[in-house]
């Protein structure tokens, strides 16, 4: 019997438990007609028994699945065949892993003859522990189900208990996202710590030469100075992209909220939002194949030296266009949230429409707009595809928008593509870069959300 059949069996037994609980509760409900004598409806009693039947058994299986591999290995090692195994932990581990995957049917042929000899003990141990777990789980279903069933009585507050279980289930669901975030953060920290044990954090954060090598150079230089990367990221994501996105986004939001006729707005706004749904890889080749060559030719024609076919400007401009919907929709929301009384007040003073927008609406909507811009920046500096395709790989410290620069995300991609050892500083540097990026975007998001929230409160 496999795990999934066992799982379904437990669920079916839970259904039966539900039925028995309900029958018992219906019976004593029928006997106690007085209002309030039976606390909960029979249905809740049914669920109460069902949860008792299923819950502990599933919990046990979860723990068992985590604990049993270690028990199985221990059991297999007590077999006579285990005495021939080498003492070297690395070789030993490889053989055991191979034997295990053959025994559980994931692999057919042994590479190492020693593994073949371990297959049989493994097979025995696996089936022993599997049967043990199954029997224990089914026993738990019956025992706990019976316990729940026996506890049913008219005054049992089954409804309250089911409510609590529902709440816990929802809490669990909401925790998953949070826990994932924390998990990612923690793993980034661990890998980064390994990196920083090889490369000094000061060299990394303040070094200006990015040329990662697996082995340190003659003067101990490692080429892990990330400043050019940070500069490239800021230059493309926070400067060029925002120079494009902020004015265009803001102006389109103003037009859409203040000037556009309602039917124009009705189809213009969805189109603008579609822009946010275009896969970034499409923007990427648009930037690399169309915008970048055009910009290079333009730069050459006006005599700018150092123009490259992969330029910060191309990546930044295309990224800015990608970001427009973010800025525009946040600005749109904040301008629309300014009470119309404010606008009327200004118009009634004899202000023109544009004076009203400039002097009343924008200042009132500013915090929301700033929040939107910060979110857009955090989106832009984490953006990968466009910069990988259009910004280049050379780590230049330059303010010339026509030359090639590289960004944190591009370098992470470069460091992790291809066959890499997972303990070389070159690979681990990707985690350190990821950590920096994560912290910066997290901070930007926190500040943005706080700003937006504060602003919302001001008008509620």
């Amino acid at each position: 019997m496999t795990g999934s059949i066992l799982f379904m069996l437990i669920i079916v037994l839970g259904g039966i438990a539900w039925f028995f609980g309900r029958v018992k509760a219906s019976r004593f409900s029928a006997d106690n007609k007085k209002r309030g004598a039976v606390h909960s409806l029979p249905n809740y009693h049914g669920w109460y028994v069902a949860l008792w039947a299923i819950g502990p058994a599933l919990l046990f299986l979860m723990i068992w699945n985590m604990a049993s591999p270690a028990l199985i290995t221990d059991a297999a090692l007590t077999s006579p065949a285990a005495e021939q195994l080498p003492q070297d932990p690395f070789a030993r581990g490889a053989i055991l892993a191979e034997a295990r995957s053959i025994a559980s049917g994931q692999q057919v042929q042994a590479f190492n003859p020693l593994s073949q000899s371990m297959v049989e003990p493994y097979r025995t141990a696996i089936s022993y522990y599997r049967t043990l777990g199954m029997v224990a789980a089914l026993l738990l279903v019956f025992a706990c189900g019976a316990f729940g069933w026996l506890k049913l009585k008219p005054e049992l507050r089954a409804r309250t208990k089911i409510e609590r279980v529902t709440m816990l289930l929802l809490l669990f669901a909401s925790l998953i996202a949070t826990i994932t975030t924390i998990g990612i953060f923690v793993s980034l920290i661990f890998e980064s710590a390994r990196f920083f044990s090889m490369v000094s954090p000061i060299d990394f954060l303040f070094g200006t030469e990015w040329n990662p090598k697996a082995v340190a150079g003659p003067r101990g230089e490692t080429g892990f100075g990330a400043i050019p990367l940070f500069w490239g990221t800021v230059f493309i994501g926070a400067i060029i992209a925002m120079i494009v996105a902020i004015p265009l986004g803001l102006m389109s939001a103003i037009y859409l909220t203040q000037y556009a006729p309602p039917n124009f707005r009705a189809w213009m706004k969805p189109i603008l939002e579609v822009l946010a749904g275009v896969p970034t890889v499409v923007y990427g080749y648009f930037a690399a194949l169309t915008v970048a060559p055009a910009l290079r030719d333009f730069a050459v024609s006006i005599g700018i030296s150092g123009a490259s076919s992969e330029s910060a400007l191309a990546a930044g401009v295309v990224m800015g266009i990608m970001i427009i919907p973010f800025v525009s929709s946040m600005a749109d929301d904040s301008i629309a949230a300014v009470p119309s009384a404010m606008r009327d007040g200004s118009l009634a003073m004899g202000a023109t429409k544009s004076e009203t927008i400039k002097k009343v609406l924008i200042p009132a909507a500013l915090p929301g707009v700033v929040g939107g811009v910060l979110l857009a920046v955090s989106r832009a500096i984490g953006e990968t595809m466009i910069v990988v395709m259009a910004a280049g790989l050379a780590a230049n410290m330059t303010a010339n928008p026509f030359s090639s620069v590289t960004t944190v995300t591009t370098q992470i991609v470069k460091l992790l593509t291809g066959d890499q050892e997972f303990d070389s500083p070159k690979t681990l540097a990707a985690f350190a870069l990821g950590l920096v990026l994560f912290i910066v975007t997290l901070l930007l998001n926190l500040i943005a959300l706080r700003v937006v929230k504060k602003y919302r409160e001001a008008y509620e």
Binding site: M349, G350, A351
Partner: protein
């Protein structure tokens, strides 16, 4: 109200107005604004039917009537605030000092500087008290120096009876004031551009009784300096602050006359029903 009832037996009531459609000049004082045969449409729906009212300089004119009777809509015609509603259409003649305010050559920016407005809910801008008052003078270029602007701000706040309360905190946000203070700030803001007419759209409906009393007192003080038109759903308020009252019902002007007459001797049955509380 019972007093009012006693004195309003139909036989005694003198004819104050001829017809609802005719031009009505209710009493003395130089004419400030005239309206003739004004219709307002929201799309297909007619919100105001054939209203003619004169607003005089020395009197406070009150518009009363049940909710949805069009009194606010009509008020918003007087400074063309209905222009901000795309589907609204106004016909008829409305003049300010003899000039047709709906004429193509009329500059709506100038018009609104001359006809100020105070709204139902206090709507100070999220700026400092000073900047709230200075807003109008700045956009209209009324002050050529900082001193002059300071002067306008002080005078306006004094006229609105707010100077004493805020003179030490002119840089505080206007939205931090209490509701009544905010409304007086809005009145001061309207005064700051030196208008000829001030329109008030239920200025006290969001305020507590004490703040309301202060606003009413302020209206008394401002009377004569500005032609004041006030919309109110509170009949006692109309009786207290106004000298002329117009009663609107379902988009038509039912009756317009001297306030004391309207409240003691209404000509029209509908007016009497309304002020005696039979509906509305």
């Amino acid at each position: 109200m019972t007093e009012l009832l006693d004195s309003t037996s139909p036989s005694e009531s003198p004819i104050m107005t001829e017809t609802t459609a005719s031009a009505i000049s209710a009493g003395d004082g130089p004419l400030k604004m005239t309206t003739r045969n004004v219709d307002v449409f929201y799309g297909e729906k007619q919100a105001i039917k054939d209203v003619s009212i004169d607003v005089t300089m020395d009197n406070v004119t009150a518009f009363i009537g049940p909710s949805g009777c069009g009194k606010s809509t009509f008020l918003r015609c007087l400074n063309r605030m209905n222009d901000t509603i795309p589907i609204a259409r106004v016909t008829g003649d409305i003049t300010l000092e003899g000039e047709d305010i709906y004429a193509p050559k009329m500059d709506v920016v100038q018009l609104r500087a001359r006809v100020g407005m105070v709204f139902q809910k206090p709507n100070p801008f999220p700026k400092s008290i000073y900047d709230n008052i200075a807003y109008g003078p700045r956009i209209h270029g009324l002050a050529s120096s900082k001193d002059e602007l300071d002067n306008i701000v002080e005078t306006s706040l004094q006229r609105a009876g707010l100077w004493g309360e805020v003179q030490d905190r002119l840089q505080d946000s206007g939205t931090a004031l209490s509701g009544g203070q905010q409304q007086r700030l809005c009145i001061a803001r309207a005064i700051a551009v030196d208008p000829e007419v001030i329109l008030m759209d239920e200025p006290c409906s969001a305020l507590d009784p004490i703040a309301t009393a202060k606003i009413e007192e302020l209206i008394h003080e401002l009377r004569g300096k500005y032609a004041i038109v006030i919309v109110t759903h509170n009949m006692q308020q109309a009786a207290r602050v106004s000298q002329r009252t117009a009663f609107f019902h379902l988009g038509t002007l039912v009756e317009y006359g001297v306030t004391s007459d309207i409240f003691t001797n209404p000509t029209e049955e509908k007016t009497r029903d309304y002020i005696t509380g039979r509906y509305g």
